[in-house]
Amino acid sequence: MWDYSDKVMEHYRNPKNVGSIENADAIGEAGSLACGDMLKLFLKVDKDGIIQDAKFQTFGCGSAVASSSVLTEMIIGLHIDEAKKITNKQIADELGGLPPEKMHCSVMGHEALEAAIADYYGEEVNVCSEEKIICTCAFKTENELLKEIKEKGLKSVEDVVAETGAGGGCGRCHGAISNLLKQVDKPKIEMAAMSKTQQIIKINNVIERFIADELRKDGGDIELVDVEDSKVYVKLRGACASCKNAMVTLKYFVENTLRDHISPDIEVVEV
C-alpha cells in the first residue's frame, strides 16, 4: 500500500471536474498508454484570459487521478498567465505531498497544463513527449541528468550520486544512470566518414536495439528506407492516434536516438 495523504484519497475516490469540454479553448495532453499514465486537460478561457472551467480525463493510478483533479481545482478562476506559474511541486503540496515514487504524477499534471497553455497561445509543443524520470527519489529527469553529466564531466555512477544526488536513495536507478553515462561517453563520428553500408548497418542496429521496441509496444513501427549523406529516410507508423503531434514527437525521438548513438549530424526524413 502506498502512503497516500487523506487529500489524495479524497480526490481519487471522488475526483472533481471529470470529463471533457466541447469547444474547449485549449487542450493539453501528457503521458501515453504505454507509459501507464496519461492525462488530457480541457480548458474554457474567457476573453479576459480567465480560466472559467477545467475538465480532465486520466488514465493512471490513484495519485495520477488525484493530481489531475486537484490541478483543475487550482486553476479554475485563475488568469492563464497565473496558471502558467504553477509548478509540479505546488500540485503535490496541494495534495498534502505524494510518495517519492509517485512524484511523476504531479509532473504529468504540470506538463498537461503547460501543453494546454501552449495550445491556447497557438504554440507548438511536443504533447506526447514525457520527460523521463530516472531517479524518483531525488526526482531527476533524463534530460537534467544528461546535461549535468556532460557539463560536469561525470564518469561513474558514484560520480553521479555524489554530484547530482540522483541514485542516492533506493538505488533502483543505478542501471539507468549507467546507461546514461554510456550514452554520453560514446564517441561521435560524422556520417560522411562512413561508407553507405556502414551507415545502414549502424542505423539498423540502433533502430533494432533502441527504437523499434519502443514504437512497437505502443503499436507503432519503423522501417529504414534509404540513407543519403546525413539524411535518414524512414517510414514511420505511430499509434498515438488521439495525439495530434504524435508523428512529430515520433520523428524527434527517432532522430535524437540516432544522433545520440551514431552521429550528431543525422537528419531524419519521413517518407
Partner: protein, 395 residues
C-alpha cells in the same frame, strides 16, 4: 463490511486448525529437539511427525529428503546456491523469463558473478518451447530452474516432462522446481520423477509466514547456506522453528485433504467469477485463457484503465486482489510475466489477479460480480480513451 479476500496467491489465512496445532509448542512444550532430556525429545518426535506430513505432501519417498526453511525464497536460494556451490566448474544455468522475482533476482546476481544464464521465453499462452529448452541444455549446464505454476497467471508448466527433456540431454544437470504457487492447488508427486529439488512456502497454503520447505532428492548434493549446528542433517544450521514447522506439517496434511475441493468447488467459483466478469464488463480481457492453470487463479486485464486505481476502488468496497506480483507492486513497471506473454499495452497496466482459496464462498463471488462492474464503469468515465471504450461497448 467484511473483507472479501481474493488475494490468496499473495498470502493466505492461517487455518485455525493449524494455529491449534502450533499453540502448545510456544509456552508449554518449548524444549529444544536436540536436547538429551525427554522434554526436548518429545518435541523431536513431533518434528519428525511434521517432516512425515510434509514428505507426504511432496509425494517424496523419504522424510530425510525434506529440509525446513524460513520461506519460499530461502528454499529457492538454498536450492540454487547449494547446487552451484557443489558443482563449481559448470557455469551455465537455465530458467524462464516469468519466474518469481525471488528466483530471477538470484540469477541476476549470479550473472554478475560470472554465470551464463539462459532465460527461456513464453508464447502468448504462457507456454514454453520444449525445443528451445532442449537446445539450451549443454555440458556446462549445472542447473535448470522452472516454476511449477506462475503466481500471476496460474499457468502450470509440465515440470515432470521438462525435467525428462533436461536429463535426456545432460543427466548431470540438476532440475529445481519452484512449487510455491502449485502447492495446495494441485497434487505434488516428486517420487518417480526426474525432479531433483522442489521448494514450497508455508504461508501460501494456510500455514503462517516465516516457514517453508525444500525437497532434495536423495543423492543430490546441496551445500548449506547457513553453517553451524547439525540441524536438518547439517544442511541448514540453527535451532528448528518448532511451532512453525509443526504448523507447516498440519497445513500440508489439511491441504492434501482439500485438494479435491480445490479442483471442484474452488475451480467452479473461479470459473464463475471469470466468466461473470468477462460477460458483464465489455473492456475486460482474460490474460491467460488456457486450461492448464491452477484452479484458484484468474488474471483479467481491464482495458484503458489503470490497475492501481481499480485496486484502490475495490479495496474501498472491501475486495482484496492484486495487480501483478505483490513483490513488484512497489515499482511502477508493468508485470514482467504479462509482458513476456505479449499482453497488449491497452490491458497491461489494468491487469488484476484474483486468487481464491478453500475459504472463498459463493456469496463472496456474487458480491464481487455485483460490485466490480459498477467500479469499472465509474473508472471508464475517467479514461481519456472514451472513443476506444465506446467501440468496445464499455460506456
Amino acid at each position: 463490511m467484511d473483507t472479501i479476500y481474493l488475494d490468496n496467491n499473495a498470502t493466505t489465512m492461517v487455518d485455525p486448525q493449524v494455529v491449534d496445532a502450533m499453540t502448545p509448542y510456544f509456552s508449554q512444550y518449548y524444549g529444544n529437539p536436540s536436547s538429551m532430556h525427554d522434554f526436548g525429545g518429545k518435541v523431536s518426535l513431533k518434528l519428525k511427525e511434521a517432516r512425515e506430513q510434509v514428505k507426504e505432501f511432496f509425494g517424496a519417498s523419504l522424510a530425510s529428503e525434506i529440509i525446513f526453511t524460513a520461506s519460499g525464497s530461502e528454499s529457492a536460494n538454498m536450492a540454487i546456491r547449494g547446487v552451484l556451490e557443489a558443482n563449481k566448474k559448470q557455469k551455465h544455468i537455465i530458467t524462464t523469463k516469468i519466474e518469481h522475482p525471488c528466483v530471477l533476482n538470484v540469477y541476476k546476481t549470479l550473472e554478475k558473478e560470472g554465470y551464463r544464464v539462459t532465460y527461456l521465453s513464453v508464447d502468448s499462452d504462457g507456454s514454453l518451447d520444449f525445443q528451445e529448452l532442449e537446445d539450451s541444455v549443454c555440458d556446462d549446464t549445472v542447473l535448470v530452474s522452472i516454476m511449477y505454476a506462475n503466481n500471476e497467471t496460474g499457468i502450470i508448466f509440465p515440470v515432470e516432462k521438462l525435467a525428462e527433456i533436461v536429463k535426456r540431454k545432460n543427466p548431470k544437470t540438476k532440475f529445481f522446481v519452484d512449487a510455491v504457487q502449485a502447492a495446495g492447488k494441485i497434487k505434488l508427486d516428486v517420487k518417480n520423477t526426474k525432479i531433483d529439488l522442489m521448494g514450497i512456502s508455508g504461508h501460501k497454503i494456510h500455514a503462517p509466514k516465516g516457514v517453508g520447505a525444500l525437497y532434495i532428492k536423495k543423492g543430490t548434493i546441496v551445500m548449506p547456506l547457513v553453517i553451524g549446528g547439525h540441524q536438518e542433517r547439517g544442511k541448514r544450521a540453527g535451532t528448528e522453528n518448532v511451532p512453525y514447522i509443526i504448523g507447516l506439517g498440519k497445513a500440508c496434511e489439511l491441504a492434501n485433504a482439500a485438494l479435491n475441493d480445490e479442483e471442484t468447488r474452488v475451480k467452479r467459483l473461479r470459473d464463475k467469477l471469470e466468466s461473470g466478469i468477462i460477460k458483464s464488463i465489455p473492456n475486460a480481457r482474460l490474460n491467460a485463457a488456457v486450461d492448464e492453470r491452477v484452479p484458484n487463479t484468474t488474471n483479467i486485464g481491464f482495458q484503458y484503465i489503470e490497475g492501481e486505481l481499480i485496486l484502490l476502488h475495490m479495496s474501498d468496497a472491501g475486495i482484496c486482489a492484486s495487480s501483478g506480483s505483490a513483490c513488484t507492486s512497489g515499482s511502477l513497471e508493468p508485470s514482467h510475466v504479462l509482458r513476456a506473454m505479449g499482453v497488449p499495452f491497452t490491458a497491461l497496466h489494468g491487469s488484476i489477479r484474483f486468487s481464491l482459496s478453500r475459504f472463498t464462498t459463493e456469496k463472496e463471488i456474487d458480491y464481487v460480480l455485483e460490485k466490480l462492474p459498477q467500479i469499472i464503469r465509474k473508472l471508464n468515465n475517467l479514461s481519456p480513451f472514451q472513443k476506444e471504450l465506446k467501440a468496445l461497448g464499455a460506456i
